[in-house]
């Protein structure tokens, strides 16, 4: 008896003759000229297209995080490997160390998970500042380490200052996740004076309010 050949399902892409499909969209007819690089990146990660407003926020978050000083540890790593004159192995090594690392983009989903927990605990009482403060303080008090809050060597993270302005300019600071982020930052400032929020938490708060999920925000 012969086993039936297994069928593998893909939703990502299909190579056609005159037209290709990408996550349910005709590449030339529907995406060409209509989708930006950040939009295409979001489509690749999320499997759905983002609004132009959300893409614009993504672009601004990316710009705020543009910090490639070769002295910074992960970048130094790529630099020393690239000294052998090949860029791709260095880039691959730089990406490799991001997974589960304590710094870099992998902190974003962990920070996001914390905000999701907090939002659930705040529940429908998000408009009650005292309740929000109480929930956040209880959460902060029981955490040994609050992901997304811990900028090393400086009291405030300049990238966060810039990105907060981007969020406020769009009115997104009034949305639930960013408000919880801001409340957490205030609670941490009271509990742990040495810990300043870093962009991982604010970026996720802003992106979550823009409709991007926790696991996708890395």
């Amino acid at each position: 008896m012969r086993n039936a050949a297994p069928e593998l399902v893909t939703r990502s892409a299909h190579w056609g003759y005159d037209e290709h499909r990408y996550f349910g969209h005709a590449v030339f007819e529907q995406l060409r000229g209509r989708e930006s690089l950040s939009g295409l990146t979001a489509l690749s990660v999320l499997g759905r297209r983002l609004s132009p407003e959300a893409c614009a926020l993504l672009d601004e978050a990316a710009v705020c995080l543009t910090l490639a000083d070769p002295r910074i540890w992960p970048l130094k790593l790529t630099r020393v490997i690239a000294s052998y004159r090949h860029a791709m192995p260095a880039a691959a090594a730089g990406l490799l160390i991001q997974e589960d690392a304590r710094i870099g983009p992998w902190t974003v989903p962990k920070a996001a998970a914390g905000l999701v927990v907090l939002k659930a605990q705040v529940g429908a009482r998000g408009d009650e500042p005292d309740h929000v403060r109480q929930v956040v303080r209880a959460y902060v008090a029981e955490q040994r380490f609050v992901w997304g809050f811990g900028t090393p060597f400086r009291k405030r993270d300049e990238r966060l200052v810039a990105f907060r302005d981007s969020v406020e300019r769009r009115g997104l600071d009034r949305l639930p996740f960013f408000r919880i982020f801001a409340a957490t930052a205030r609670a941490l400032a009271i509990h742990r004076t040495e810990t300043a929020p870093e962009p991982a938490s604010s970026r996720h708060a802003g992106l979550k309010d823009a409709g991007i999920s926790a696991s996708s925000s890395t």
């Binding site: 002295r71 790593l77 490997i81 052998y84 090594a93 160390i97 589960d100």
Partner: protein, 175 residues
């Protein structure tokens, strides 16, 4: 690496042992230490070490391509660019020759003051690893344990003890 057992007359452990030492001043060990500092998982540290060592081995073998070609000729005279008059390198090669003498193995070109790296490439060749890919693989495998040891000796997130301004980078803007 060579797909065959080394002949009895050839030393099998010396080439590996000779390539093994690595310092944090070299890119592979430094990169692996940085991965550890960032608290990357061990699998990532090992992968970073392997990538960096592969690149180092490729660069070393490329630099010694002419030496590998020379080995195929009838010439006994080691090309000048692979010789060194540095005392430290000479002493290192002399130690290698003494160690090989103890197992009754001789690589004639080692008497012509090769650089340390050239001496080790010649030794691998004398042990039967003659193709570039064989030599690259041997160097990678020899140095992986010491590179990992260097990385795992570091403490994750020990950022405050890392000399961030070494080397001194000078920032320049394109006019």
């Amino acid at each position: 690496v060579s797909s065959r057992l080394p002949p009895r007359a050839r030393p099998s452990k010396w080439p590996a042992c000779s390539w093994a030492p690595i310092t944090v001043a070299e890119a592979p060990a430094h990169a692996a230490v940085l991965a550890r500092l960032c608290a990357a998982p061990t699998s990532s540290i090992a992968a970073v070490a392997a990538i960096a060592l592969s690149e180092q081995a490729r660069a070393l073998v490329t630099e010694h391509a002419a030496l590998l070609e020379w080995r195929k000729t009838d010439s006994d005279l080691l090309p000048g660019r692979f010789r060194s008059d540095d005392d430290e390198e000479s002493q290192s090669v002399a130690r290698l020759r003494r160690a090989l003498a103890k197992v009754n193995f001789e690589v004639a070109a080692l008497a012509q003051q090769p650089t340390r790296a050239a001496a080790l490439v010649l030794l691998l060749g004398a042990c039967g690893l003659e193709r570039p890919e064989q030599i690259e693989a041997a160097i990678l495998l020899s140095r992986l344990p010491s590179t990992l040891a260097e990385a795992l000796a570091e403490t994750p997130t020990n950022f405050s003890h890392y000399p961030i301004n070494l080397p001194q980078f000078v920032y320049e803007e394109t006019p």
